[in-house]
Symmetry: C2
DNA sequence: TATTGTTATACTCTATAACTATA
DNA sequence: TATAGTTATAGAGTATAACAATA
């Protein structure tokens, strides 16, 4: 079949594909697309899944604690919890000792959905991990954690 | 100093920090923040830097070829090239053989800015790479490339 | 009929500021 | 005064559809 685009036969990436930031971004996009496809049935994006999981793992956790753990803003968590309540997955309860805070709890429906979601997420993770030997996979996790600790303030002026 | 938050003393992440997708995302956010800080002086985000670099490396490249290489949509590239023209960094020229296409070229100002940006990007990359041994760093690049090849269609229904 | 570039549009994610009520 | 949660809003980044000009 004849080529119809006018793209150059070879395009130089200028060393872009040997830079950690660039390949990190491309890998993250691919992993997110794969995750979204795997969890399409439970209608959870990576971010929403992590919130639901945290509530399930820590019944009664206040919203601020979730924000601290996941690095999201409290103002942006509101809509997520709203959606969970609308879908009947979670509930805001009054906090025992602090009148300002909410205790977040999963409903029975939320726990059931989380169980399905965890199974799907584990299947997704297994498909990513299957590309590597176990030791390499663990090394990858370790190196990514090292990178995530980099502080933007570290950059010299 | 007294603790003033009501966050639980220990929060379970439910194994989230042993999942490739999650640590990948956290690492990517940290790397992008660091990149943005390093390239603040040249006013280039990672995405815009990659477009400018591709034009510099491939003078006359049409917009569609950039989209193919970087995985962005042609409709979203328009504003980026508009901004480069407004800042006097790049120009759209008529394509020699294809009346539909643009040839993108850097101006002298664009080439000068790109040289500065590449130096800053290299310094950024050096700071990320410095966290690892050379062999490990190359292994990381290789594994991230492997992940980026994962197809979302690979997920079972 | 397909592709290049463009416009318009919408949706998500992220970020900031201001407010309330509690501490 | 500081924190928990909320609201409103604005800016990126990303997605689709439709169009004109050209292949």
């Amino acid at each position: 079949m004849a080529k119809k685009t006018i793209s150059k036969p070879t395009v130089s990436l200028g060393g872009l594909d040997d830079q950690i930031g660039y390949v990190l971004r491309r890998a993250q996009i691919a992993a997110f697309l794969h995750f979204n496809e795997c969890l399409r049935g439970v209608k959870l994006t990576p971010g929403k899944f992590s919130v639901l999981l945290l509530i399930g793992e820590n019944p009664g956790i206040p919203q601020a604690a979730i924000c601290d753990c996941l690095g999201i803003l409290k103002s942006n968590l509101v809509a997520v919890v709203d959606e969970f309540e609308r879908r009947g997955l979670a509930e805001r309860h009054a906090h025992g000792r602090d009148g300002r805070a909410n205790e977040l709890h999963l409903t029975a429906k939320g726990r059931a959905l989380l169980r399905r979601a965890v199974a799907l997420s584990n299947a997704h993770e297994a498909q990513l991990s299957a590309r590597f030997r176990k030791a390499d996979r663990n090394k990858l996790i370790s190196m990514l954690k090292t990178l995530s600790l980099i502080d933007a303030g570290t950059s010299k002026p």
